[in-house]
């Protein structure tokens, strides 16, 4: 595949933290903890590239670096052919519009006194300053309808929604700017099984409708198996294996992937 065929390319990404560099520690021994260690991959448009690993493997640090919410120590990120790490000011803002994130609990980091409508419209208000309040509200209502919530949601507060509805609002907020790339960090892991399936299907529908590319971060191989086109298995900051989803799942090449697969408590199929 030539360079231009990729929406996202990451090369040699690295990030390490000083060990024990907390507010109460001396942290002068120079020991560093490597969170992401020389990770390279590329994602084609329309793909769902899944990064799977256990806690502490560095997958969330990596996800945040892809949106430059965390600055890598080394490496390169090309988004639609543009150098994300070199972008500044207006250039960076323009790039960020096209890449959004869906979080495990979208409300954990948001103002609990903000209504759902304002929450969904906020990115639009920031990036398109000229829009009237009425127009913002209208756009938020449209987006909420797309994720399966009616207009009555606009004026309600976070605590009035169930977990599944909150995730729908988080998705609406991520998509209102019509991004090209969505990084979804554990989007269903806080949800009940029946609701998690609803959200996974919704993400797939929206992918087709808006032509989205997903980078999906998850600890769950069964979740990843449902939606991924390609899978990277991450351990201790490195990709130990990456490949076509079906191959990684059916014929894992790395022993760690095999151990992960063997540890999954499989739900038996009804007869």
């Amino acid at each position: 595949m030539s360079k231009g065929d990729h929406i996202l390319e990451a090369r040699g990404l690295k990030k390490s933290y000083r060990r024990g560099a907390g507010a109460f520690s001396e942290g002068t021994d120079g020991a560093r903890l490597t969170a992401v260690d020389d990770v390279s991959f590329s994602v084609a448009p329309g793909e769902t590239f899944a990064i799977v690993g256990e806690s502490g493997c560095g997958k969330t640090t990596l996800a945040r670096m892809l949106l430059r919410l965390i600055e890598p120590d080394a490496g390169e990120i090309l988004f639609q052919g543009e150098n994300l790490l070199a972008a500044n000011g207006a250039e960076l803002r323009a790039l960020r519009r096209r890449m959004q994130m869906v979080f495990q609990d979208p409300f954990a980091s948001l103002n609990p006194r903000m209504r759902a409508g304002e929450m969904v419209a906020e990115p639009l208000a920031i990036h398109e300053g000229g829009l009237s309040r009425a127009r913002l509200r209208e756009r938020a209502a449209e987006m909420l309808a797309r994720v399966g919530l009616d207009a009555s949601a606009l004026d309600r507060y976070p605590h009035e929604f169930s977990g599944g509805q909150r995730q729908r609002i988080g998705i609406a907020r991520a998509l209102i700017l019509r991004p090209r790339l969505v990084v979804a960090d554990e989007p269903v892991s806080a949800l009940d099984v029946s609701v998690g399936a609803q959200v996974l299907l919704l993400l797939q529908e929206l992918q087709h409708e808006f032509g989205l590319t997903y980078v999906l971060i998850s600890h769950s191989l069964p979740v990843v198996a449902q939606v991924a086109t390609r899978i990277a298995v991450m351990r201790a900051g490195r990709f130990v294996e990456q490949g076509i989803a079906e191959q990684v799942l059916a014929r894992p090449a790395h022993e760690y992937t095999r151990a992960l697969l063997a540890a999954v408590p499989e739900v038996p199929l009804p007869t």
Binding site: G163, P222, E246, L249
Partner: protein, 336 residues
Amino acid sequence: MTSLLEVRGLTVELPTPEGRIRPVNDVSLRIGAGEALGLVGESGSGKTMLALALMGLLPPGARVSGEARLETGGAPQNLTTLDERRWRAVRGREIAMVFQEPMTSLNPVMRVGAQIEEAIRAHGPKLDAETVRQRTFAALERAAVPEPALRAAQFPHQLSGGLRQRVMIAMALASGSSEPNQEMSGGPRLLIADEPTTALDVTVQKQILELLGRLRRELNLGLLFITHDLGVVAQVADRVAVMYAGRIVEEGPVRDVLARPRHPYTAGLLAASPRLTRAPLTPIPGSVPQLAALPPGCAFEPRCGMRRSDCTLAVPNLRAASPSHTARCVLIEGAA
């Protein structure tokens, strides 16, 4: 199999601003000695409240009715009528519990060994220091904690999530053993495990599930294993009870229930569960009803693809799908 716990018509009522709700509603179940019952449900199903009722740990204002007979050798006791003084002889000593997040149950500023010692002393105040220390190490060893002496001297934050859960299991099983040289004699007969592996990585989960299986066999321990994960249930349980909106809607041998679910809710959960092979997921539409606003009749009826007109008339009884398998659904022919 001798009955260890026999619950009949257990109901828990809680006052809320919206009125009194029943997070546990007319629940009956039975656990034999050495048997593992999986209790499956989504959030709000009442599974944790049921566990708290069996531990005498309900929040203030809760009203309990029904019966929960515990038979651990002596005279059977009805847990729903124990006063706090008698609870102290049962809780920890005959029934023990481990929780989802061990960090919230462990004291962060106390070494883990001292916490286990405290639990042992609470039930054996006359034991000498050396005995308590030895039992603490023995408990850690039993829970397969490597280097027990080193771990005992550490604080909870110095341990991984998996090790913390092992410490909790060690503590749960240590507290009842009051006979000095007969390790197993006085320990709890029933272990309630509430989502004990939900916060853990799969590889660690596997180890904890194996540990619980081994302890169950070695100690002939009854296990009430609460989880939302049907895959985990398939692995740990002999029988499974599925809870929805406070009631048990299906109960039977784990293989039968998962292979041939007879309640549409159980079937829906199975169809919504992602597996390692890609297959179309079928979500259950809607969401779990609020306990303060349950529909008339079957609580699952508004979400059910197989509903009939009579589903809203009354809450269906548990009907027998086979001699060992029941489901609370009108679709099963022949009333129970």
